[in-house]
């Protein structure tokens, strides 16, 4: 298949452009700083035996408590006259080793327990997790203290204690991830491919769990070093004459007022060590955590950023309730720019229903969200065009003005009613809030209105339902609540973004019938986003078909469906099976839609179009209006009755 090979080339380019993990860490200044400091400390610690240092344990009472920068003792000496620099380096060595091994032990045993519990489930899970819960029921350090109390003070015992109390932490983390992964379809797929449970665990799950183990390790090493240092500080870890950083600090504390450098210097060293590890650990986490890597953990601001590069076009039609002209919305992710909407014009008359049809990635939802500035910024921004609401330029309006219009003049209904309603507030609270935001009514009135709204969308027992939480309602009921909320303030424009896609087909038709009725009753204009021509037929007066961020064809519904003029429209209609016509052969469209950060010149559909010629791939192709409501963006449009 030609499209397959063409996209393979693209995929290869993308892969080589993706930087490696180490490069990504080095891009992070703080993490790099941490790495440099840590490497330095490690090098010095490892090199301790070959460095020209005095023996750290040899006492010299004659030169005791020498201050910092004394001759022969850069960092001075302690109360027994031992060289502080030498002790510091040897102590760091011990602390590093203990922290590292404690982490390793905790990680290995914790991960094994977590993997087993998460994958085996059932009794294994129950047994292991009850045990873990029990250990976690002790305050962390207390348990370590109890263990040291039993085993007796000593560095090794402290190491065991610290790793033991950290096992539950790893086990819990890893179990959660494993549990989530083992419900994923690829695990079932591996079972069906003939892999045994043990093979599934180690060849399918472990590679996916590994980054989490690494993240958990890199974020715990510092903590482990602190904790072992703490036990030594209390005199329960390293025993004299051996010293780690904690015990040096503990000894120095006794002379805090006379020789503060004895406690301050080891403390500073612990801080530098742990800080560098934490900086690096954060860097590693940011790189390995896919959520952070995609930059998706950025906070969207209240309103889409508007940075119009071209002059604002003039309003064409004074009659329209809502008019969108030359709208461009882009997403800036890393170095690439996704032109999700590349110059869209729409017009919505009073009481009219306009459908926007397109596949995913066509820009239909982004167009709808751009109107009231609901596209997430970052990474989205509006770079051109405008939206007039009854003559008012929405993109030039103040934030406060847009806020006032949202939910009052223009209301939205979104796709998935479970995720769009707030899970922690009752339906009544959310409705009342919508009412109170835009009108100054007493609470009792607002509640009465809320119940009326629920009755309006045919929810039985509206008064009782006010107290229900969204999760207590079915999908259809939830979407009715969303519609009720959109109607709370007599909106003139309703923007419905695939409002029935998440619903079952019988519920979908209930919702469509309801919306149709309400539209007639209230004379509200609807902008209806969908991918289904069937739905368009049922509810829309006019349609705009979108492809790769632009409107490619527009017209009255019946006319456009009967005589599509753009080859894309025609083929899109033809490739969907229609109930009652099982004999019709489905004409698949070869290839797939272009990615909007690499749009070809000319017509974006040319690559998939059987009618494309040379000039289709050159220059701008305009939307040519052949009537007041009919337009097509094609150099060689289909004649009436012609097939693509």
């Amino acid at each position: 298949m030609s499209a397959g090979t063409a996209t393979a080339g693209k995929a290869a380019r993308r892969r080589s452009a993706r930087p490696g993990s180490l490069r990504l860490i080095l891009n992070n200044t703080l993490a790099t700083g941490g790495l440099v400091v840590l490497v330095l400390i490690c090098l010095v610690a490892v090199a301790a035996p070959i460095l020209p240092l005095p023996d750290p344990d040899v006492t010299a009472p004659a030169s005791r408590l020498a201050p910092v920068f004394s001759a022969g003792h850069w960092l001075g000496t302690d109360h027994l006259g031992r060289d502080l620099l030498s002790r510091l380096i040897w102590g760091t060595r011990v602390s590093l080793a203990v922290g590292f091994f404690a982490t390793l032990i905790a990680a290995i045993f914790g991960s094994l327990l977590g993997l087993t519990a998460g994958y085996a489930g059932g009794r294994w899970d129950n047994g292991i997790m009850r045990g873990i819960d029990l250990v976690m029921a002790f305050p962390y350090i207390l348990l370590a203290l109890a263990i040291v109390a039993v085993l007796g003070p000593g560095l090794l015992n402290a190491l065991y204690a610290i790793s033991l109390v950290n096992i539950p932490f790893f086990a819990r983390n890893i179990r959660g991830i494993t549990l989530g992964l083992s419900r994923r379809e690829f695990v079932d797929a591996a079972r069906l491919a003939g892999k045994s449970p043990v093979q599934v665990l180690f060849t399918e799950l472990l590679p996916n769990v590994m980054p989490v183990i690494v993240i958990t390790m890199s974020t715990t090493v510092g903590w482990m070093i602190l904790e072992t240092a703490g036990l030594s500080f209390l005199g329960l870890g390293a025993q004299p004459p051996q010293a780690d950083l904690g015990s040096m600090l503990g000894e120095g504390r006794k002379l805090l007022f006379t020789a503060p450098h004895l406690s301050m210097i080891p403390g500073l060293m612990i801080f530098a060590l742990v800080m560098s590890i934490n900086l690096l650990g954060d860097g590693i986490r940011d790189v390995l955590d896919p959520r952070l890597r995609a930059g998706s953990l950025t906070r969207p601001v209240a309103r889409t950023e508007v940075m119009r590069e071209q002059p604002v076009p003039a309003q064409a039609d004074g009659q329209a309730v809502l008019e969108v002209a030359g709208l461009r919305t882009e997403f800036h992710i890393g170095s690439s720019i996704y032109k999700a909407v590349g110059g869209v014009d729409l017009r919505l008359a009073e009481g009219e229903c306009l459908g926007i049809v397109g596949e995913s990635g066509s820009g239909k939802s982004v167009t709808a969200l751009s109107v009231m500035g609901l596209v997430a910024t970052p990474p989205g921004r509006i770079t051109g065009g405008t939206a007039w609401l009854e003559g008012e330029d929405l993109f030039a309006a103040s934030d406060e003005r847009v806020r006032q219009l949202r939910g009052s003049a223009v209301a939205y209904i979104f796709q998935d009613p479970l995720s769009t309603l707030h899970p922690l507030f009752t339906v009544g609270d959310q409705l009342v809030e919508a009412i109170e935001t835009h009108s100054d009514v007493p609470r009792e009135m607002a509640r009465k209105r809320a119940a009326e709204l629920l009755a309006l969308v045919r929810i039985p027992n509206p008064r009782q339902r006010l107290a229900a939480y969204p999760h207590e309602l079915s999908g259809g009921m939830r979407q009715r609540v969303c519609i009720a909320m959109a109607l709370a303030n007599d909106a003139r424009v309703l923007i419905a973004d695939e409002p029935t896609t998440a619903l079952d087909v019988t519920v979908q038709s209930q919702i469509l019938v309801l919306m149709e009725e309400l539209r007639r009753q209230r004379n509200a204009a609807i902008l209806f986003i969908t991918h289904d021509f069937g739905i368009v037929s049922a509810i829309c007066d006019r349609v705009a078909v979108m492809y790769a961020g632009r409107v490619v064809e527009t017209g009255r519904t019946e006319e456009l469906l009967l005589n599509p003029r753009h080859p894309y429209t025609a083929r899109l209609i033809d490739c969907v099976p229609v109930l009652g016509e099982p004999e019709r052969r489905l004409e698949a469209i070869p290839g797939r839609p272009p990615v909007v950060n690499h749009l070809p010149e000319g017509c974006a559909f040319a690559e998939r179009c059987p009618r494309s010629r040379l000039d289709c791939r050159q220059g701008e192709i305009d939307l040519v209006m052949t009537g007041a409501e009919r337009g097509v963006r094609c150099l060689y449009p289909l004649a009436a009755g012609e097939r693509a």
Partner: protein
């Protein structure tokens, strides 16, 4: 809600029961003769013999446990040989001091952590966020026992603003202002790490929530941004933060071990350290048991609060 709380309380019983088993087993694992360990190495053979019988050490391990548990339920945790007084009395007295310290620290870290986290999330990548992020990193990377010493050097030795140690002034102290005066440094030191952890988690939780569809809905409704952040985003974030505050309570109580040693606060932490080095194991056992039980109850409260916040958990 009431049945839920009852159910949770009921579920805590096996956990508490499990705690006693673990503590008992830890003590049973002590190498050597427990009676010698309890009485110290200068005990006479007769006394060892007597104690062995009194402790029921000639019986099987489960029998020993039942006897021990029976005593425990009657409030008998044995006698501390170093202090020569009932363990329970000493533990409860010390524990109240720790509760004051840990409670203050927990209050500070919850308030400061939440506030810093929210500011950091709302001003993501701004100056406030950068400063808070660095402070948080410093907070969780600083050994608390060293921070305590540093603060003593600065505020007590150099500036002479605050006392070096203790819970009350030796002469004429004992009132609330005096307590607060002594509490400031240790409570601040103790809360440093937990504040960092909570601030960090709050930031992530807020960022996560702010990307949810229902926040977009709230904005599409025309809500003021302050309401979107303060109500619609904060509540679900809090659902995730509350259990972490519960866990942090454990870290704060544990951290009290260091802080009480540094500031000579007469709490259960410094008692435990002394008891371990003098091998007063009955005292260690009693202290661990009481603190662990209190921690279980605290987490129970955190659980219930979380359920109150999130109706889906009911």
């Amino acid at each position: 809600m009431v049945p839920y709380i009852a159910k949770r309380l009921l579920a805590a019983v096996p956990v508490l029961f499990g705690l006693t088993i673990i503590v008992f087993l830890i003590m049973a694992m002590i190498p050597g003769d427990p009676a010698t360990a309890i009485l110290g190495s200068y005990a006479t053979p007769e006394n060892v013999e007597k104690l062995n019988r009194a402790l029921g050490l000639d019986k099987s391990l489960p029998q020993q446990y039942l006897i021990w548990l029976g005593n425990l339920l009657q409030g008998d945790l044995g006698r501390s040989y170093t202090l020569n007084r009932p363990v329970l009395d000493e533990v409860l007295e010390r524990f109240s001091a720790t509760l004051i310290l840990a409670g203050a620290a927990l209050l500070i870290c919850s308030l400061a952590g939440l506030l810093a986290g929210i500011v950091s999330a709302v001003r993501q990548y701004g100056w406030a966020d950068k400063i808070i992020t660095v402070l948080v990193l410093v907070g969780i990377s600083t050994p608390s026992f060293w921070l305590g010493l540093l603060l003593i050097l600065i505020f007590s030795v150099s500036l002479r603003w605050l006392p070096v140690s203790g819970m009350y002034a030796i002469y004429g102290g004992g009132d609330l202002p005096d307590l607060l005066y002594h509490l400031t440094l240790p409570a601040l030191t103790l809360s440093a790490v937990a504040t960092g952890v909570i601030a960090r988690l709050t930031r992530t939780a807020m960022l996560e929530v702010l990307r949810q569809d229902y926040i977009r809905t709230a904005r599409a409704k025309g809500l003021k941004e302050s309401r979107v952040i303060g109500k619609h985003a904060f509540k679900p974030a809090l659902v995730n933060i509350v259990p972490v505050i519960g866990i942090q309570a454990g870290f704060v109580i544990g951290g009290a071990v260091y802080i009480e040693t540094v500031f000579q606060w007469p709490g259960i932490g410094s008692m435990l350290v002394t008891a371990i080095s003098t091998r007063d194991l009955l005292l260690v056992q009693g202290g661990v048991l009481v603190v662990a039980a209190a921690y279980v109850l605290f987490n129970l409260v955190a659980d219930v609060v979380q359920t109150l916040l999130d109706p889906r958990l009911r």
